[in-house]
Symmetry: C2
Subunit: 899 residues, 2 copies
């Protein structure tokens, strides 16, 4: 689309664009709202005329504290043109022109001033409007609305000052709603409103229409720097210097009688994605009334009988818009005495299921191609489709037992016995019971209980409360801030608003997506999408599954990143394979040291001689070998990256404090001996202690035992006709010397196994890059490493200097609220800090060793935004938990599609 001549000249001095001059490509300059109004005008749709003041004007204002010199004249010229076109003058004459002033930045932003309607109404023009509309009540109500909106948003008077007066008037009139107030009552209210303005601002409500307009525009500019807007931008990482545009639109009225009305239309069902006519309509009303919910809307289809001409025109408009935007459009319209006006359109929000269905429908219609279809869905949406949910019918059945609705803080559906403290949760869970931990709010003392529970329910706190942050971190279902509930931990009960009491042990059900809390066991249905991935449901189960299947196929075709799994057992490996993993990127061997093997590890730690230590290792060897044999079988033909033992040894021993108390209270020889070892191994900061390669270098035989187990398992599988592809990964390397020493030992052991088994093993040896120093010296480290796997969890901990165990509980909530984080850096990779190290290490590693294989095995590997980062950074693969694999595959495809 060729921009109009005045548009091309903007960069110098054009601060105002007529709707007919702009287009949707100018979103940076005109904001989302302004650009779309312009676009619709160019499409010939019935948009009320108007013009947009650019973000550039706003930036100049914010920089200097004053509107740019030429702005007043430019607004005058455009206002003039508008008045000529309408044949009416702003707030003047018998038929006064009114306008609305609407803010519209590039990104929509809460906390910014939104809209002021009816600008142009004054003590004089209100009478003209009444005459012209033939409706005195309408005119005074419009004026009342102007003073109220203008007073609040432009003059900064708190809203209650006006609301209280309305309440008084209503009470005095014996009216249930504002709608029942008469013209006279409204005229009296206007007088009181004007008094408020005079008292609060020291001057009367402006009677110059142009001054109203200019003040409103300036207020929109100022609202860019409001506290909430700033906080939102800090959280969402939106630059502070974009500024907002302001659109000035000729008013049209949906409240001029039964042949007027206002509504919202969707070109497809935003809930399901199915095609059809969706929307709501309210006759004789303004948009505000729809939002206020004072009167009930009717389905949009009803308009077909009420006003067939407008309805037909609306359907044609919807078709034009959908074909033009090639997406679901969300449209606001007004009918003024039988004339349809389109006030706004935007690409509509939709549910996850709708997103998949719509993308595939548009693809089938030929409106978009496969790459575009991929861009229309997201891994986050796919994740939502993969949670189990309450069986809808069943939830309906138990609706009478709905206890409350809180905030859906961590998705999923959970059912279990209500328990009211952490210790009870742990005890009951240990006895095999499923429990929901119910607390007023949680704190770090509740961590054990949170870990043990199926779900967490709190009465207080929002999405950044301790419960919410920790639950999301754990992947545990959580409903928080269910404020209708009274939780009494002493009585061990929760009480609903209507007095229903739930005692400890009673079963409750919570839905972490919707925030619903039910009494009793609501049947939970598994996700059809998961069943499809599991292979237990075919791709043609329903149109949603078919859409997912279609888009996964597209993603797999275009993506460059491989997706591997973090999996420690043959079961996990098999599931990962079903979910599309191209191998295992992280097998954590510490999980193989738990359970009954813990006693062997204890023997290893308590060993007082080389013989005792070697005996303990020798006992562990065959167990480890069997673990690996099974794992290689499950991943036959695909790479399996085994990380040698990472955690500090004391993690396999009892807790120091617990054990100290036990020993202090009752002497026991074994406990006393254990306590000595626990004291010896105790670390003030275990995260920063003797773990990973350090342990491997200090405990003779530990790493070589593991290497031998891997090599022998591979030799066995090979002899049995399998195709094992083990890779050995060394954790926590900080300097190439560590890797050199481990590599020498490992190569010696592998050579021995090769000789003993008469076979040839090809086992790449690489390292985690999970310390800043490893990233900073990646060039040196690459000389001894066949591959790098970025451990972005640990890297996040060391780059930021906080341990996840400690900080999610203690200050992440506050940090999210203060906008210090937009999102937890454990959820999405911190591109500026951690990401910068990853990029540096990739460049240095590849420079030193061109064939270096590069992956990531932190939890970021399954996070949508992070996958895009890793794609752009040039990794070969991401590795994530089995359930995240489809999400990573989809996002890897989307990243490639964007490229």
């Amino acid at each position: 689309m060729t921009p109009s001549p005045s548009a091309t000249a903007t960069t110098a001095t054009t601060y105002v664009y007529d709707f007919a001059e702009g287009h949707k490509g100018l979103v940076d300059l005109l904001g989302g709202k302004g650009a779309n109004l312009a676009e619709m005008t160019r499409l010939g749709l019935p948009v009320p005329p108007g013009f947009t003041i650019t973000t550039e004007a706003c930036r100049a204002y914010l920089r200097t504290g004053a509107e740019p010199d030429t702005l007043h004249a430019q607004v005058s010229a455009h206002l003039d043109a508008l008045e000529r076109r309408m044949g009416r003058r702003l707030g003047q004459g018998d038929d006064p022109l009114l306008v609305s002033v609407r803010s519209g930045a590039k990104f929509s932003m809460p906390g910014m001033m939104d809209t002021v309607l009816n600008i142009g109404l004054t003590d004089a023009s209100v009478t003209a409007l009444a005459r012209q509309a033939g409706d005195e009540r309408f005119a005074w109500d419009s004026y009342r609305r102007l003073i109220q909106m203008f007073g609040r948003t432009v003059l900064g008077i708190e809203g209650d000052a006006f609301e209280d007066l309305i309440d008084d008037a209503r009470r005095a009139a014996g009216a249930a709603t504002d709608v029942e107030l008469t013209a006279d009552q409204l005229r009296a209210l206007v007088e009181r409103f004007k008094d408020v303005v005079r008292v609060r601002t020291g001057r009367g409500f402006p009677q110059d229409p142009r001054e109203q307009l200019d003040l409103a525009v300036r207020a929109v500019f100022d609202s860019w720097n409001g506290d909430r807007a700033r906080l939102y931008r800090r959280q969402e990482r939106i630059p502070h210097d974009l500024g907002t545009a302001v659109s000035v639109v000729a008013m049209v009225f949906g409240n001029l009688g039964p042949d007027s009305g206002t509504g919202v239309a969707f070109t497809r069902d935003p809930a399901t994605g199915h095609q059809g006519v969706y929307g709501d309509y309210l006759a004789n009303a303004q948009g505000e009334d729809v939002v206020a919910g004072i009167r009930n809307t009717v389905p949009l289809a009803d308009l077909a009988t009420a006003d067939p001409a407008c309805y037909a025109q609306l359907l044609r408009t919807m078709e034009v818009l959908e074909n033009h935007y090639r997406d679901l459009c969300d449209i606001e319209f007004t009918i003024e005495r039988g004339t349809l006006w389109i006030l706004q359109t935007r690409v509509g929000k939709r549910t996850a299921a709708a997103a998949f269905r719509i993308a595939v429908q548009l693809l089938d219609q030929g409106l978009i191609d496969e790459r575009e279809a991929l861009r229309r869905v997201s891994g986050g949406q796919l994740a939502r489709l993969m949670f189990p949910r309450f069986a809808t019918e069943a939830a309906g059945d138990v609706a009478g037992e709905r206890l409350a609705t809180g905030i859906g803080a961590s998705p999923g559906a959970a059912v279990g016995a209500a328990v009211f403290d952490s210790a009870t949760a742990v005890a009951r869970a240990a006895a095999g019971e499923r429990v929901i931990l119910v607390r007023r709010e949680t704190n770090p003392d509740d961590l054990d209980g949170m870990l043990a529970a199926q779900g967490i329910l709190t009465a207080r706190g929002g999405k950044t409360s301790h419960a919410a942050v920790v639950a999301r971190g754990m992947g545990t279902t959580c409903v928080c801030g269910a404020e209708e509930l009274r939780v009494d931990p002493a009585a061990r009960t929760l009480t609903t608003a209507d007095g229903t009491v739930v005692a400890e042990g009673e079963v409750i059900s919570i839905d972490g997506t919707t925030g619903a809390v039910h009494r009793g066991e609501v049947p939970v249905v598994p996700s059809a999408v998961v069943e499809y991935f599991e292979g237990t449901a075919p791709a043609d189960t329903d149109d949603l599954v078919a859409a997912v299947d279609r888009l996964m196929t597209c993603a797999d075709r275009v993506r460059r990143l491989d997706v591997r799994a973090n999996a420690d057992t043959a079961d996990d490996a098999a599931r990962a394979r079903r979910f599309g993993a191209a191998g295992i990127g992280l097998c954590r061997t510490e999980h193989m040291f738990l359970g009954e093997r813990r006693t062997l590890v204890e023997r290893l730690i308590l060993a007082e001689s080389d013989d005792e230590r070697e005996a303990a290792l020798a006992a562990l060897l065959p167990l480890q070998r069997d673990d690996f044999t099974d794992l290689f079988a499950a991943m036959d033909g695909l790479p399996v990256t085994v990380r040698l033992l990472d955690p500090p040894l004391h993690e396999f021993l009892p807790d120091l404090t617990d054990l100290s108390v036990r020993v202090a209270l009752a002497h026991d020889v074994h406990d006393a001996r254990l306590l000595t070892a626990v004291r010896r191994l105790h670390e003030r900061n275990p995260m920063l202690g003797l773990r990973g390669v350090r342990l491997g270098l200090l405990v003779p035989g530990l790493f070589t035992m593991q290497v031998r187990a891997i090599a022998e398992a591979a030799a066995r599988r090979g002899a049995a006709g399998g195709a094992p592809r083990p890779e050995i990964m060394i954790p926590l390397v900080g300097t190439v010397q560590e890797l050199e020493i481990v590599r020498e030992e490992a190569e010696r052991v592998v050579a021995e196994v090769e000789r003993d088994h008469g076979t040839r093993l090809d086992i790449p040896l690489g390292t985690m890059i999970e310390l800043p120093r490893a990233a900073l010296t990646a060039g040196q480290i690459a000389e001894s490493a066949d591959f790098f796997s970025f451990g972005t969890n640990d890297l996040t901990q060391t780059v930021w200097g906080f341990s996840r165990d400690d900080v999610e509980a203690s200050f992440f909530g506050a940090y999210l609220e203060k906008g210090i984080f937009g999102v937890s850096p454990f959820e999405t990779i911190d591109a500026d800090g951690v990401g910068a190290l990853v990029t540096t290490a990739i460049a240095a590693g590849r420079a030193a060793r061109p064939g270096l294989k590069l992956g990531v095995c932190g939890e970021h590997g399954g996070d949508p935004e992070s996958v895009h980062f890793f794609h752009a950074a040039g990794l070969d693969y991401v590795s994530c938990s089995p359930f995240r694999i489809p999400i990573a595959r989809l996002e890897a495809g989307r990243a490639a599609a964007e490229g």
Copy 2:
């Protein structure tokens, strides 16, 4: 000096240089020894002729496993020339030429093959040598030595195989030393040696002189990659690809009778630096004998009477060398029948005191300029002069009470009661007694006792043992590995080799420099250099103090780096000022929360309402204000950087485990309440928890109380006519948002104080850069910071991912031994990792804010090598503990002098 034509052509193919062709500038190619031999030859000094095979030849050999093609021919040509010049053939004829083969890399390196003497001796030539020398015993002894040295170093036969045979022969002959063995006995010994060679290598001792030479050269090459040499290079960060040179030198003999001899000469006294003739001489002997210590040497001056001509020639040579090298030279010489030969020279090692005296002497002589004089001393040497030491006379007096000599592991002198366990050390120290902790070896359980003790003494372990590493980290005097002592912790005694028993409580004295352990209290004398810095002794106290004064003046004149102090009290600040500090770079306010104020902090932590919290803060405010007032007074006119509270709050509460045991054993209401708080605040990794700016953002009023105390103290001092220059530093910032929020609050408080006091305060606000993320996003952070101070301690912890508390105890010893570290990264900045971040942050910070002030306040600020790094990196200042200030000043001067 113009290199000879053949030298300029080397880069292509010249692998061998005659001594007359090289010079000391070619040390990369000829090694230290070869370059100096060439240099002396060019100076016309009497060096036995010879040639050097280059490091390049060695590198080619190591790369390909074979000598370069042309090497054999080049050696032949140079050997030919040598033979022609000497008029003798290698191992041939009536007067056989013998040569020595000497290794010599750019850096001298333990673990590399050193020297093989007497190459050219064979069954045939030994007889010719005997005839020629007129001394059959000499000839067979020389042959015996060749086979022994060659067997051990070239053929890899363990030395005992030969030593045992010598012992047998000595016993058989009833001889006390080898010297008493007759020619016949030596001839028989040679036969047995040859048998050993035949048995061990499968072939006879090589009888081809040229083959002997070639094998010896190859053995030198191979020794470059010996285990010890590799380990040493890893520790010292010497590149593995330098290779060694090999010098082939015509043999001269100091053992041809009373008119022959060998010795070592120093151009100044390496112990004191005083001028004169120093050295040792041994008539009728070879260098080996001096080393073996079989016979006692005589002072070099005795040569004046024994051989006045040679003595005079030697003195002339010494003068030539010292004037040429412009430094103390260490010279090896041999007199062969009245002819002086110089075999080697190098710049001599010296004590710290000698280094300072010599540098100033040479400066006074005009041999070197001030910058060069600075390069001749080091901060490490200055540090050694600043430790207290045993009064020499007194130590002599109590010499009879010397108990043992161990390894001086951490310098200083310490006196105290011997205690044998950590708990006793803590208890006695708490009672005001000075104690020395005596252990067989220490482990992490001993940490408290080590902290409480004046000094640490262990019977086992070397310089990288737990005791040594931790004591150096703490700066506590330590003697380790005193293996003569038997330590019995059960009996609470130590027993010396001669049976003396020291019981617990008896006073002992240890010297961490010399390793001496004495019974009783050895008087300790303070350092005269420290007294000079303190201003209690004038600069002309003695010539050492005068030398230090002179060089400190030079350093202060040339250095670009400012040196500030880490000081928390007015006393420390005053001392720092005396020591030359240009301000305080780090005042840790947490030290102001200890002692009796701890109860206030406890109140703050236990506060259950805003009122209680505010009351606790209000009580702390005047105390903090007084602290700062005193500090600003002590540093009047100089900047004082105050860091707001850094450690996690639970550090002010009792330990979780101790308190849990106490509560379990006896219920106490206050303890139980405390325990709840301790549990709530407990962190798994406090280093990575709620501290620094995070605490400031989470505990309302904490940082603002501190800012107010600083601002009010400054206002008071200003009103009292002082010139306070406070700077506020925010710890643990990871992202600019944190700093923005704190800055807003701080500026508000400062403005309030300005208003209340009617004054104008100029208080810069900056941040520690102590997290990798702060360094990585320094450009963003600089926009809100007036200065950066690098906290390289914490940065080292997070970059490497280890906490100093944990790792020095658990694996640093092993890491140093394995050569993973050359030096602890907490001692000297890790340039590749931590240093890379510092450099990145400096560049980004200065780019964003050109006037940004940059300093460092980690302990590296007082470490010599690190100071050079910070100078090169472009910091404005380093800050270190008061005692390290002179060291930092000197090193800052040296760094500038090198620039």
